[in-house]
């Protein structure tokens, strides 16, 4: 028995260095960044080994969301939201579609799979560089129609200044409440089947109340800015979104393909015997069964879209305001403008958004593991 307890100690000691490293480099650093974001670290002496830092509370955040000069950051944030949504829809939609096609076992499946997945092996800098050339104005993709005898496109892929789906930032609070209500209702509907009582009490009820309040009392809510400021979906980001979808739909394809192969042939035959067509087999049997895969794809892709930095850097350079993203602004603010406190605040905003997805996911994984 003493032997066994000594082994347990050895096991723990083996893990200890990693625990310490992760503790400092992940949790300690996150805490440190939160602290930095509440100081005024920046300016001339910023790079001194012991820089002067004063606690200023939440001023950096207030400035980012409502300050007069930070409208660029707000546009970046809006870009990031549209970017995430379109990347998720595109990569999951196309990936699933290709996986269903390959699941029909066409000839040359191996070769096709290799072709669809190879972008995943590339660095974002590499794919960004190549796509920048492909999306050059008056070149690349734009001249493709001429080979079919059509006039060339003249879309400005990465430099357009047009925006669609605009909204007024003054209504920030109202929009925020709508989003909260929407998320709560979504979670509620999802949990309805498992624990109806809890779902209504904790998710659906509050969601409906908040949503109704934002709708009815919207005009009474304080406005975020003293003047109108419109933000929308920049068409210049479209090229970057296409390049990222190109890079990641092979990944979702691989996930779904592995999932489809994991479904037993018996189940499939049974569905077919019951008169299900291919379409209804995928719609009602296969895709619902792969819900865990869809959830991990959503988590991983949202994480990727939030830290998206390299591909934008490579495609439009760091100075293009139209295609900005908080991940890129964070780098520029911190390492080019030496405004460390503001950079830390941007990083924490990104982290908070990411945590909304990750924390529930990681917690549910933990529950599954400890139960099983």
């Amino acid at each position: 028995m003493r032997e066994a307890s000594r082994d347990r100690l050895k096991a723990f000691l083996t893990l200890l260095p990693s625990i310490i490293l992760i503790g400092i480099f992940v949790y300690g650093f996150i805490g440190n960044t939160i602290w930095i974001s509440m100081t005024d670290w920046g300016g001339d002496g910023a790079l001194a080994l012991k820089p002067e830092m004063n606690f200023i509370g939440l001023d950096n955040y207030r400035d980012l969301f409502t300050g007069f000069l930070s409208s660029g950051f707000r546009q970046d944030l809006v870009n990031a939201v549209y970017y995430s949504v379109m990347l998720l829809a595109g990569a999951i939609g196309i990936g699933m579609f290709i996986a269903i096609l390959l699941d029909q076992k066409p000839k040359g499946e191996d070769v096709l799979r290799t072709i669809f997945l190879y972008p995943m092996a590339l660095s974002f800098i590499v794919s960004g560089t190549i796509w920048r050339w492909l999306l050059a104005p008056q070149g690349g993709v734009n001249v493709l129609p001429t080979y079919l005898g059509l006039p060339p496109l003249n879309f400005e892929w990465t430099s357009s200044t047009k925006a669609v789906l605009e909204f007024n930032w003054q209504n920030l609070l109202q929009i925020f409440l709508y989003i909260v209500a929407f998320v709560l209702i979504l979670i509620g509907l999802w949990a309805l089947k498992k624990r109806p009582c809890r779902a209504i009490k904790f998710w659906l009820g509050p969601g409906v109340v908040i949503g109704a309040f934002a709708w009815l009392g919207g005009s009474m809510l304080p406005e975020a800015l003293f003047m109108e400021e419109n933000h929308g979906f920049n068409l210049a980001t479209l090229g970057i979104i296409i390049a990222t979808i190109w890079q990641y739909s092979g990944y979702t394809m691989a996930l779904y393909l592995a999932g489809f192969h994991g479904i037993s042939q018996d189940l499939r035959d049974a569905a077919m015997l019951d008169g299900a067509s291919s379409t209804s087999y995928y719609r009602h049997v296969a895709i619902p069964m792969l819900k865990p895969i869809t959830i991990s794809a959503v988590i991983i892709l949202s994480h990727i879209s939030l830290k998206m930095f390299d591909i934008i850097f490579a495609m439009t350079g760091p100075d293009n305001a139209q295609t900005g993203h908080p991940a890129l602004t964070m780098y520029m603010t911190t390492f080019r403008a030496n405004d460390f406190a503001k950079g830390a605040a941007i990083a924490i905003v990104l982290f908070m958004v990411a945590a909304m997805f990750i924390v529930p996911y990681v917690v549910s994984q933990y529950r599954q593991r400890t139960r099983g």
């Binding site: 480099f25 930095i36 669809f116 590339l122 660095s123 008056q138 991990s296 794809a297 780098y331």
Partner: protein, 281 residues
């Protein structure tokens, strides 16, 4: 789509024509950037023109590769050192961690494992400033050792995860009987677990090599010019205002080549790493 089994797929039906038609179109879309990169890299600079970008070069012009190699040589050397060191260290540590997490669970080990996993999903911007400060205070800022440290630490979550899932497949009975025979913590690892780990090491190393080789954010924030990895070198090569596109395209091909070769020749392990990276239990 009526083609559901292999028997009907080989017959020509409207469904299978549609299936192959869509697949071929999609394949062309996915290959388009690769074609463009190769064609542009092989053209002499004078022949590169937006309107003829899709056309093949009149004759192959290999010197762009030579020029790009000269410009990126020191970056490639840095990246090789970085990738080899970071991958080796993080897979060894990950293997030991995975061994503990799967076979020597203690009270709270699942919680520790979950806290590890969380580190995999944070946007790295959130740790960038303290990382920069810490490396500076440790006198590691600017060179490769600091970058290696960062890659080892932030690689731990994924390598521990892959090895943990891999070692769960080793029957616990095997470990138990070895313990009855008097084997301790380390001798079980060196005599039983480690020899069975080769596929696990292949999968984890391929994943880490890909990640480290392709990484950019830390490369640009934590290294000085002399030690910039290949991604930073390529970004600088392509970032100038009046670029002649043959150089960045040749550079892209060279930066992509090592990982692409791994993918083509060891695709099965590459995909296993990819799937393991998505926290499949």
């Amino acid at each position: 789509m009526s083609t559901t089994s292999t028997a009907t797929a080989s017959r020509i039906t409207p469904g299978s024509i549609l299936l192959y038609g869509i697949l071929i179109l999609l394949a062309l879309f996915f290959l388009m950037p690769a074609y463009m990169a190769v064609v542009t890299a092989l053209k002499p600079p004078a022949e590169i023109d937006l309107s003829t970008a899709w056309e093949l070069p009149s004759k192959f012009h290999w010197s762009s590769f030579y020029d790009a190699l000269t410009l990126l040589k020191s970056n490639i050397v840095s990246s090789i050192i970085l990738t080899v060191c970071a991958t080796t260290l993080s897979t060894i540590l990950g293997s030991l961690n995975g061994y503990v997490f799967s076979k020597w669970k203690f009270k709270g080990s699942e919680l520790v494992f979950t806290l590890f996993l969380f580190g995999m999903f944070i946007p790295y911007q959130v740790i960038l400033i303290p990382l920069f400060q810490t490396l500076r205070a440790m006198n590691l800022y600017g060179g490769l050792p600091g970058l290696i440290l960062a890659h080892v630490v932030y690689g731990l979550p994924i390598t521990s995860l892959i090895f943990r899932n891999f070692y769960t497949q080793i029957p616990t009975a095997l470990i138990e009987s070895a313990r009855l025979d008097g084997a301790g913590f380390f001798s079980i690892y060196t005599r039983i677990v480690f020899p069975l780990s080769i596929p696990g090491f292949v999968v984890t190393s391929l994943w880490q090599v890909t990640q480290v080789w392709n990484e950019f954010l830390w490369g640009i924030c934590l290294t000085r010019h002399a030690d910039n990895p290949i991604t930073v070198g390529l970004a600088q090569l392509a970032g100038g205002q009046a670029v002649s596109w043959n150089l960045p395209m040749a550079g892209s091909i060279m930066a992509a080549a090592p990982v692409l070769l791994i993918y083509i020749f060891l695709g099965r392990y590459f995909i296993r790493g990819l799937l393991a990276g998505s926290v499949k239990e």
